[in-house]
């Protein structure tokens, strides 16, 4: 796995950076952390586990993204980081 990013810092989006790690580590900065931080982290780890990724370090900067956006950005970053194109399958 190499370092890769997806997403932007626009309002309603989330910037995801994925790199090598041991276990799944998620560091989240969010404009809605108090109310939704727990849910956002859960969506990130669920998405990675769904892609079969068990070891990664994720830096996420969230600007109020919805779950669908978070899943899309995490998937795109994971594909770039692993080189494994999940959309072809």
């Amino acid at each position: 796995m190499k370092n890769a990013t997806a997403g932007t810092l626009e309002s309603g989006d989330i910037l995801i950076n994925i790199g090598p790690g041991e276990g799944l580590q998620v560091n989240l900065q969010s404009s809605v952390a108090a109310q939704f931080g727990r849910q956002i982290k859960a969506v990130i780890t669920d998405t990675l586990e769904g892609l079969g990724i068990k070891d990664a370090c994720v830096e996420a900067i969230d600007k109020g993204a919805l779950d669908c956006t978070i899943r899309a950005r995490v998937t795109a970053a994971a594909v770039r980081a692993t080189g494994k194109d999940v959309w072809k399958d």
């Binding site: 809605v32 108090a34 939704f36 931080g37 600007k63 993204a65």
Partner: protein, 468 residues
């Protein structure tokens, strides 16, 4: 001139007889460009004053330096319509021992007029003044137009100091603030940053969601039963509100309908309709942009009113009592139609009551326009974080997912349905929002009261607790 009232700021303060523990007041017509509040409080701090109560018509980002004056005990109480920026953030986290008192613009006017809010010394910035204190919102260095929020202070404060950066020859007439109410005039280098006092006309929103909301709001108005010749209207300055004016204008022309007056904060949009003959009188408590500020100086049918004449709930002659339709925004609306425009969904104060309570309560038809979600933040919720405008005074809520009508106004729901608009129960909107974003965790509020929200009749509506 004989009997000139012009003195230095320090001398004006000495002459006022101001004592520790007393109340000083300010207006917010210079908006984000204001230099008067910081300048005066800095001077009061230098002169050794403590324990002062600051009664502002509103406060914004530019007043962040007050944080230090609060820490140093110079300011120990605040009343205002709104708070934003670093000052709001610090207060939300528990900076002050005494809770901030939040009043609507009409509520503040009433409280000053009936003595509940007693002002010892008013420090009123003006764009021009003569040596006796005839002062206006028009000057060589800046213009703000109406001084409506300063007029109750000028009339009822025990002592009035006018601050200006444009001293003109007597008589400075027609005047907003009368020399009869003024004790001292202070000439300063600058009362504010003119580019931030009156910006050019607010640009039309190109945001497609704003345009959709505006079209829906216009359809609600047109089919509400109140869209008749001689109707009256007030709008906010939000993108959707202003865009709605555009669609209402088209329909006024199509049907040959004219409005008797437009009320409140006046924008270039309203001035345009007035100049086209579509609106009779502009009743202006606050000129929101340069076009409005210039118009009020020259157009006899563009009138300045005080906050009391605008929106007092205790004066039956106030203009809101004659208002048919108001379009308002919201941070949150709940399933009982209660509205919050003051406290963000993170628990931090980030807004102002403004005329929200007043116009919603007195108008024949109050319409709240807000998106269902702002990013991940829901705008239609089971319970508002803070109660600002009580549900019974809110008639219609317009979102991009449908229009909810207060069950107390079945005749309006009927008219909108007959016009083919998508009328839905407000609980359905809250459920839709929740289905997209999930269930938010509760905010980490503490047990210290940092703000008290007053109703316009002087009763307490809600309390704001510190956020941890």
């Amino acid at each position: 001139m004989r009997n000139s009232k012009v003195v230095s700021l320090e001398e004006a303060i000495r002459r006022s007889g101001l004592q520790n523990g007393q109340t000083i007041s300010f207006h917010h017509h210079f908006r984000g460009g204001d230099k008067v509040v910081n300048m005066v409080v800095d001077k009061l701090a230098q002169m050794g004053f403590k324990d002062l109560k600051l009664a502002a018509s509103s406060l914004s980002d530019v007043h962040a330096p007050l944080v230090e004056h609060i820490k140093n005990g110079v300011i120990t109480g605040i009343s205002t319509s709104g708070l934003r920026g670093a000052l709001a953030d610090a207060i939300s986290h528990g900076l002050m021992e005494e809770p901030v008192v939040f009043r609507s613009h009409g509520g503040r006017g009433s409280a000053i007029a009936n003595g509940e809010l007693k002002i010892d010394v008013a420090f009123l910035g003006a764009c021009s003044s003569d040596e006796l204190g005839n002062a206006t919102g028009h000057g060589a260095n800046s213009i703000c137009g109406s001084l409506g929020y300063a007029l109750p202070d000028a009339r009822y404060a025990s002592h009035v100091v006018v601050l200006t950066d444009d001293l003109v020859a007597y008589p400075n007439m027609p005047q907003s603030i009368s020399a009869a109410d003024v004790e001292s005039v202070v000439v300063v280098d600058s009362v504010g940053d003119s580019t931030k006092i009156a910006a050019g006309a607010i640009r039309d929103s190109k945001n497609p969601r704003d345009i959709l909301l505006a079209k829906q709001a216009a359809k609600v108005i047109i089919n509400s039963g109140y869209f008749q010749d001689g109707f009256s209207i007030q709008t906010g300055t939000g993108g959707a509100s202003l865009a709605a004016v555009k669609y209402i204008r088209e329909e006024m022309i199509n049907r040959g309908i004219k409005a008797s007056f437009a009320l409140g904060g006046i924008t270039a949009h309203m001035v345009k309709l007035h100049q086209e003959g579509l609106i009779g009188t502009l009743i202006d408590v606050q000129s929101f942009d340069k076009v409005a500020a210039e118009s009020i100086a020259v157009d006899p049918a563009h009138r300045e009113v005080s906050a009391v004449e605008y929106a007092s709930g205790q004066h039956l002659g106030s203009a809101t009592h004659a208002l048919d339709i108001v379009i308002l925004s919201a941070l949150e609306v709940d399933t009982d139609f209660n509205v919050n425009v003051l406290v963000g969904s993170d628990g931090i104060i980030r807004g102002a009551i403004g005329g929200h309570q007043d116009t919603a309560a007195d108008s024949a038809l109050s319409i709240i326009v807000c998106p269902l979600l702002r990013g991940r933040i829901p705008c239609v919720v089971p319970h508002v974080t803070t109660l600002i405008t009580p549900g019974p005074s809110v008639d219609v809520v317009v979102t991009e997912y449908g229009i909810a009508v207060n069950p107390g106004r079945p005749e309006i729901a009927q008219r909108l349905k007959e016009a083919g608009l998508k009328v839905v129960p407000i609980t359905e909107l809250a459920a839709k929002a929740s289905s997209i974003i999930g269930k938010p965790d509760p905010l980490p509020f503490g047990d210290k009261v940092v703000g008290v929200v007053m109703n316009r009749d002087g009763s307490v509506l809600d309390k704001i607790y510190n956020i941890q």
